[in-house]
């Protein structure tokens, strides 16, 4: 089953952020809750965790890309 990795809601004043780095490559196995992608803003840099265990099937937002809240960053095949 495909599970989306999504840029979560960040609060009222922030609509977008930048993908800083992927910590896994397409094809890598990830555990549920494992940090998988680093997101940055001018104020905070934080990690997003894998929503499920599985294989990182695809990356839809590469490093340096600006993404909006709710955007699908990648897909884990669980």
């Amino acid at each position: 089953m495909d599970v989306n990795i999504v840029l979560p809601q960040l609060g009222n004043e922030i609509e977008e952020a930048q993908v800083d780095a992927w910590l896994k490559k397409v094809g890598d196995w990830v555990a549920k809750g494992e940090q998988i992608v680093v997101i940055t803003t001018p104020k905070v840099t934080f990690e997003i965790e894998a929503p499920e265990a599985g294989t990182l099937k695809s990356i839809l937002a590469e490093a340096e890309e600006i993404v909006t809240v709710g955007a699908i960053l990648g897909i884990v095949e669980s």
Binding site: G11, N12, I14, V38, K43, V44, T45, F46
Partner: protein, 253 residues
């Protein structure tokens, strides 16, 4: 100038006010504020000398406490649950002592004045740093994983330092932070002797405001020590800290 209160996230429940750390501002809670919105209306502000709020008075702790007190009164959101980091934690303790009617509970993250002395070299160098490289190296001392400091953040700090009054304000506050343990002592004792619900969260690898377990025990309340985290446990270990903060606020209802 009274700091503006920003509605950060959430529309229902008790008011939760976020107080940021030294050199930061109200947008530093992106990894936490939406999660906290599950249990309250989340607000944030820029402390004096940070973000959009000019320095108040001489940048003493009392000046910062008075500013936050004024902001809560002006916005009419009190009493609030305070969630406060580092410098903001010292302000929170000061406010809880000065105006207990405004504070429902304290959740303090690596609060200045409650641990060992704040790293003196950091306080000396941070507000005086003039290059991106120097700022980058200083910021990386805050975290256990260097990837949590990005060049956008480094550039933002330099821009803040170079803005009119920015560097002078942070130097003034750093002077106060250098002696925060003694400055805060009366407020520390007042809160320690009170029934105010309080939770303290600390990274056991924090070298900026190192954990002092004996002093923390004297402060009382609940604590969460985050293994491996440095000075930003709410970002370094966001999930664990968010879960505890949400449970904490929910339990105060």
């Amino acid at each position: 100038m009274t700091p503006a209160i920003h509605a950060a996230a959430g529309t229902d429940g008790p008011a939760i006010l976020l107080l940021h750390g030294y050199g930061s501002d109200h947008l530093s809670w992106l990894a936490n504020q939406q999660q906290l919105a599950a249990v309250g209306r989340v607000y944030a502000l820029d402390l004096p000398g940070h973000g959009e709020t000019p320095l108040a008075g001489a940048g003493l702790l009392a000046d910062l406490v008075a500013s936050v007190e004024g902001a809560i009164d002006a916005a009419g959101i009190g009493p609030v649950h305070l969630v406060a980091h580092s410098l903001g934690g010292a302000v929170a303790i000061g406010l809880a002592a000065a105006r207990p009617d405004l504070v429902r509970s304290l959740a303090l993250i690596a609060p200045s004045g409650l641990g060992a002395a704040v790293d003196a070299a950091f306080l000396q160098q941070y507000p005086r740093s003039r290059s991106l490289e120097e700022t980058d190296a200083l910021l990386k001392r805050l975290v256990s994983r260097p990837r949590l400091i990005n060049r956008l953040m480094v550039a933002r700090v330099q821009a803040q330092l170079q803005a009119p009054g920015g560097r002078e304000g942070l130097i003034a506050i750093a002077e106060e932070l250098g002696q925060i343990g003694s400055v805060i002592e009366p407020a520390f004792q007042a809160v320690a002797a009170s029934a105010l619900p309080r939770l303290t969260i600390w990274g056991d690898a924090d070298t900026i405001v190192p954990l002092d377990r004996e002093r923390l025990a004297r402060f009382g309340g609940e604590s969460l020590i985050v293994a491996g985290a440095a000075h930003l446990p709410h970002i370094e270990s966001a999930r664990a800290v968010n879960e505890r903060l949400v449970a904490w606020v929910a339990a105060q209802a």
